[in-house]
Amino acid sequence: MTAIVIAKFITGYFVLQGALLSLVAAYGVVRLPDAYTRNHAASKSATLGVISILLGVFFYFWLIEGHMNARIILGIIFVFMTAPVAGHLIMRAAYNTKVPLWEKSVQDDLEADRKKEGVKG
């Protein structure tokens, strides 16, 4: 009886934490000034949020229903590996298609290097 209560508490804690992290990510995506900072919010915080939700669901099925699901673990590993890569690729495409930085940005090392080497674009 007590073990089930503790298992439900763990599940609820992880799921609620993941949902709140997802809300923080969405608020950052709405409020931040340019595409790069928005991607910073979305790719980190949304990834950790969904990993936390999946961890809570894994603990629920393991501790209460009584069977371990390797598919949820595989989903956690897959999201953890691919979501930052997707963010990197889309932001590289954004930089190469000249999406502007925020006008108060102070540092752009890649543009300085490209100017020094004479590469256009």
């Binding site: 439900k8 599940t11 609820g12 799921v15 609620l16 993941g18 949902a19 709140l20 997802s22 809300l23 990510a25 969405a26 608020y27 995506v29 709405v30 595409a35 928005r38 991607n39 979305a42 790719s43 949304a46 990834t47 949020g49 969904v50 939700i53 999946l54 669901v57 629920y60 099925f61 229903e65 069977h67 699901n69 598919r71 949820i72 595989l74 989903g75 897959f78 999201v79 691919t82 979501a83 890569v85 997707a86 963010g87 690729l89 889309i90 932001m91 590289r92 495409a93 954004a94 190469n96 298609t97 999406v99």
Partner: protein, 96 residues
């Protein structure tokens, strides 16, 4: 008690999906829209997981993996389309 927490979490994720939808509609550049769609796909994974706990079934866990894979492939394809103009290149001597 657990059901209440799950319902609250589902509501919070729905609100965050609506916020992403705002960025998807308004976003000034194309990469903004792509990262909003990517994040909506990731939120959909969490919604599927919570629904499968609420329904007390483990029949939807393949959907989680499938959504993760499809979101990643869609984002990579869109990034390549933005950067190179085509997704699958068939001229091997072109070198950009």
């Amino acid at each position: 008690m657990l059901d209440l927490v799950l319902r609250i979490s589902l509501l919070i994720i729905a609100v965050s999906t609506i916020l992403y939808l705002y960025r998807l509609i308004k976003g000034p550049s194309v990469p903004d829209r792509v990262i909003a769609l990517d994040a909506i796909g990731i939120n959909l994974i969490g919604i599927t997981a919570i629904i499968s706990v609420m329904l007390r079934t483990n029949a939807f866990l393949e959907v989680i993996l499938l959504l993760g894979i499809l979101t990643f492939i869609g984002t990579v394809a869109f990034a390549k389309f933005l950067e190179k103009g085509e997704i699958i290149e068939n001229d091997r001597n072109r070198h950009r």
